[in-house]
Symmetry: C2
Subunit: 127 residues, 2 copies
């Protein structure tokens, strides 16, 4: 599978199944994962270590894509990333900028509002 | 001019010239301008009223586009929106989701981190 949009779709589908091992297959070894207001994680193993425990803690992960456009190696998508933690839902409006080369994701950069995340996480974890 | 990406480019070029009257020509009468973490402004006149005074206060407005992809009426772009206020530069990493129909922008939705903006504005205005 080398179509950039299809690779992004497959990665997101694996995340929604909370299957980090299946997701990481779609990442380049030196992938840059940039959560813009939080910082960057570099490398497929580091992304798995950062994201895997969180998605495994969730009972449901649901990332509906509202719009997606691709051109060459570049994919943009507008999503609502939803995570169920116990009785709480965390809902994050996000736009992702992706680059896919030779069938693997080399860049995954998400733009979102950090306080929208931290305030919902605090409510969900009682923090 | 009806090409969606060209319309977005022309709108941004007018904003960079700090010419709100030239920019507003590219907006549909019922445009939705959604600054995701702040809220929505509806209508070309309301957008001009909200944005015009701010860009006129700036000495320089510079919005370099790092990536832009279009498909049909949809345009995504990844930008660094830069505003000079007095001796201060405010720099905002932003992703925009646009829809253009019949040569006019019907949706302009920017995803960014609100605190990245408010903290720089406070420094620039001494607030």
């Amino acid at each position: 599978m080398t179509d950039p949009a299809a690779v992004v779709d497959a990665f997101i589908a694996a995340i929604e199944r909370r299957d980090m091992a299946a997701a990481v297959v779609h990442l380049a070894d030196d992938v840059e994962y940039d959560n813009v207001p939080m910082g960057k994680t570099v490398g497929a193993d580091a992304v798995a270590a950062a994201l895997g425990p969180f998605i495994e803690r969730c009972t449901v992960v649901d990332w509906p894509v509202h719009r997606q456009v691709a051109d060459g190696p570049i994919v943009f998508n507008e999503r609502l990333d939803r995570f169920q933690l116990g009785d709480h839902w965390i809902e994050m409006p996000v736009t992702g900028v992706w680059e896919v080369h030779d069938g693997r994701i080399t860049l995954w950069r998400d733009y979102f509002d950090l306080a929208t995340y931290t305030s919902q996480m605090a409510a969900a974890t009682g923090g």
